[in-house]
């Protein structure tokens, strides 16, 4: 019964959307709409952008922000629960790219108008465009794009005589770190960041977590138990098992990696750009001057690395009563000016390649060119409407990283396939 009722409501909601869109053309009685933008927590940058765009709109619309939970999975849960209820109060949402296919497939995203698709993908780094695409269709608008780079302490590589102008491999940095008695920071905690790492390793080795997508979840073909997958597992274990892994490696998140790197025995870390302004602010410029950045470590010396891709896409809720105006606001939010401001204020890199040439950006992030290069190389996490099961399965199977072995890939494949088929709990 709830089923039938939902569908009935769906039809009703669609009719209301249509009616209000039509009405929007004819009359202006109801005053300017207030758009609600669901944002991921940040240090206030998105709220400032919302204000700026409200001012720019000259009274056509007002943007209010609502904050989502801190972790990616929590953000998805909260949005989906509201969207499944066909909630019209969600106008704009900040989406983690891996969840875009699920939202698109469930019909939660209003289609991006053709002209806007072109305007919002021109000059955007390729990884960010890929992340906003599902079934060869742009379904969301890239806002900012994140990537991890390899951070190293200049003093450490100097002492070890490691040439960081050339690409380095995981094996190399583990060797140097052990020799110098310093730490390698990576995210070994059981969280989304673990999938980010696994994916980057597999992609760097030339493989993919999903080899073959399928409509039915149980038919999805995983690429974990392949040559590339095995290489990835080997590297993971090598790092986690080495003396260079921190004592709390199995609970290490981005924050803990940054903390370890700031310490006396910081050596290397793979992490997002936020670590640099953080070092400047909480410890001091002296430490930050010892920070160097290079492209993500390679798995194989001869294959370019595929660094992790993160960031945020903007989606417009399918049940919003102001779809057209919401897209207008989205275009304002993702403007070059706002992307640059956000890069500077919150340390989250732009998706527009041109933003990296901005003098203020270069001043705050001297390593901006490395970040841009990394974004061009970056590979998104697997795209699937069942991403949450896949990442959950990977987190369960590849944790703790030190326990990963030759059998892990096969076990994970079996486990995730069973979960997708509804034969096992997660």
């Amino acid at each position: 019964m709830p089923d039938r009722r939902r569908r009935g409501l769906g039809g009703g909601a669609a009719a209301i959307v249509l009616a209000s869109t039509l009405a929007g053309c004819g009359s202006d009685e109801s005053g300017p709409p207030t758009l609600t933008w669901y944002i991921n927590p940040d240090s206030g940058g998105q709220a400032s952008i919302a204000e700026a765009c409200t001012d720019d709109a000259g009274g056509r619309y007002t943007i209010d922000t609502e904050v989502l939970p801190r972790d990616a999975a929590g953000q998805r849960e909260q949005l989906i629960r509201r969207l499944a209820a066909e909630d019209s109060s969600i106008d704009i949402m900040s989406l983690d790219p891996p969840f875009v296919p699920e939202f698109a497939e469930a019909g939660f995203l209003a289609p991006v108008p053709e002209d806007l698709q072109e305007r919002t993908t021109g000059g955007v780094v390729q990884g960010a465009v890929d992340g906003a695409t599902w079934n060869d269709e742009i379904v969301a608008v890239p806002f900012w794009a994140n990537t991890q780079v390899l951070w190293y302490r200049l003093s450490v590589v100097e002492a070890a005589g490691l040439d960081m102008t050339q690409p380095v491999t995981w094996e190399q940095i583990v060797e140097v770190a052990e020799e110098q008695g310093v730490l390698i920071g990576a995210q070994g905690a059981r969280a989304e960041s673990l999938t980010v790492w696994v994916n980057a390793l597999i992609e760097s080795a030339g493989g993919h977590i999903i080899e073959q997508n399928a409509d039915a979840p149980e038919d999805i073909e995983l690429g974990l138990d392949t040559e590339a997958g095995q290489r990835a597992a080997e590297v993971m274990r090598l790092v986690a098992d080495s003396d260079a892994a921190g004592a709390a490696f199995s609970t290490e998140n981005e924050d803990a990696s940054a903390t370890g790197f700031e310490g006396d025995n910081g050596g290397f870390q793979v992490n997002y750009p936020f670590v640099y302004p953080r070092a400047v602010e909480t410890v001091g410029q002296e430490l930050a001057d010892d920070y160097g950045a290079a492209v993500y470590p390679r798995v194989d010396a001869d294959t370019p690395a595929a660094p992790p891709l993160g960031g945020i896409d903007l989606g417009v809720g399918a049940y919003s009563e102001n779809v057209d105006i919401a897209f207008e606001a989205v275009e304002c939010i993702r403007s070059e000016e706002n992307q640059i401001a956000y890069f500077i204020s919150d340390g989250n890199p732009a998706s527009l390649a041109s933003a990296f040439d901005d003098p203020e950006v270069l001043d705050k992030f001297p390593m901006a060119p490395v970040i841009r290069e990394s974004l061009e190389l970056a590979a998104p996490r697997p795209q699937s409407p069942y991403y949450s099961e896949i990442t959950g399965g990977i987190q369960a199977s590849y944790h703790s990283p030190a326990s990963v072995g030759p059998q892990t890939a096969a076990d994970a494949t079996e486990f995730i396939t069973a979960v997708l088929a509804g034969e096992q709990l997660l």
């Binding site: 089923d3 629960r81 490696f249 096992q424 709990l425 997660l426």
Partner: protein
């Protein structure tokens, strides 16, 4: 959070018409009784009975919230999937371990606290009583964060303070393994709920007749003998009620695990498993089945206590 009190024992007989004679007055009383108690009764029923029935119904379907069109009846398949899954039994084991450990420690520790409070000097009694209520009243999530920050390898002080203990070092990663994670979770639970148990036991201590204690003393019984032969048997009711409610409360542990480990390192409780299926995975069918199984477990436990240990709350009230 523990949320109970001992049932009041029979004190005064209701002053009402004798059973059997339906006078106008008895009828009026009956009507008034339901008028007064009815709203509370129906609210309780509405917010629990309806949802659990709905959950039972949902548990017979394969139903994903994001894919309502493919909702289909699949009978008891969900239950079969769960009961043949190692994860269910693991979570059940973890839940039972947490329950047994916390309740056992709380009972002993709570008894010690109650003894101190019973004997404590008049000067510090109110201070102790106020202090002991604080863990009880603090939000579970707050307590979980406090303990997590204390044991965390970066923010904590435990490693630097207790490095002299065997097994603790400056780089002990408490949340990196199953055993140590469960240890901290149990510690937080014990800290928070022992005061409640100790208050119930304190009340039970007050029920032990002083005369019996004195008589045993005269007979030359040692302190230990008096404890086992006089004190404990006389407060059996209080112990049983405390045990019943804390066990059922501990069995539903969720908040601390959510905050401290988020289920990593096999620290998932049954409640957490249900949460993950329904709220995170949006698998309403499968998740509802876990919820129903959890409900059945709790009811079985309660039945064991009430029938097996004869903790009959309703009749203890003389109804």
């Amino acid at each position: 959070m523990s949320q109970t009190t001992l049932p009041p024992a029979e004190k005064t007989q209701p002053v009402s018409a004798p059973h059997g004679t339906i006078s106008d007055r008895a009828k009026a009383e009956r009507k008034l009784g339901w008028m007064l108690a009815g709203p509370a009764f129906f609210v309780m029923l509405a917010v629990t009975a309806y949802p659990i029935l709905q959950a039972t119904y949902d548990s017979l379907f394969s139903y994903r919230l994001t894919d309502p069109d493919n909702r289909s009846f699949n009978g008891l398949t969900n239950y079969w999937v769960i009961l043949t899954d190692e994860l269910w039994w693991k979570s059940l084991g973890v839940t039972m371990l947490i329950t047994v450990v916390t309740v056992a420690v709380e009972l002993v520790l709570g008894f010690a606290l109650a003894m101190v409070m019973a004997k404590a000097l008049r000067a510090i009694r109110p201070v102790i009583r106020a202090a002991i209520l604080i863990p009880y009243a603090v939000i579970t999530v707050v307590s979980a964060f406090a303990w997590q920050f204390a044991f965390d390898i970066n923010t904590g002080f435990v490693n630097s303070w207790f490095a002299w203990l065997p097994g603790v070092a400056s780089d002990t990663d408490w949340f990196g393994g199953t055993g140590t994670s469960l240890f901290v979770i149990c510690l937080a639970e014990i800290w928070k709920t022992t005061p409640f148990i100790s208050l119930l036991l304190l009340a039970g201590l007050a029920q032990v007749p002083e005369v019996l204690q004195e008589a045993a003393k005269v007979d030359g019984a040692t302190w230990w003998q008096r404890l086992w032969k006089v004190t404990l048997p006389n407060m059996k009711a209080a112990i049983m009620v405390a045990l019943l409610f804390r066990t059922l409360d501990a069995f539903r542990v969720f908040d601390s695990i959510f905050v401290m480990t988020n289920g990593a390192n096999s620290t998932e409780s049954v409640s957490f498993l249900a949460y993950r299926q329904t709220i995170s995975r949006l698998e309403i069918g499968l998740g509802s089945a876990v919820s129903v199984l959890l409900f059945i477990c709790v009811m079985l436990l309660a039945a064991v206590f009430i029938k097996g240990f004869k903790v009959d709350l309703a009749s203890a009230r003389g109804e």
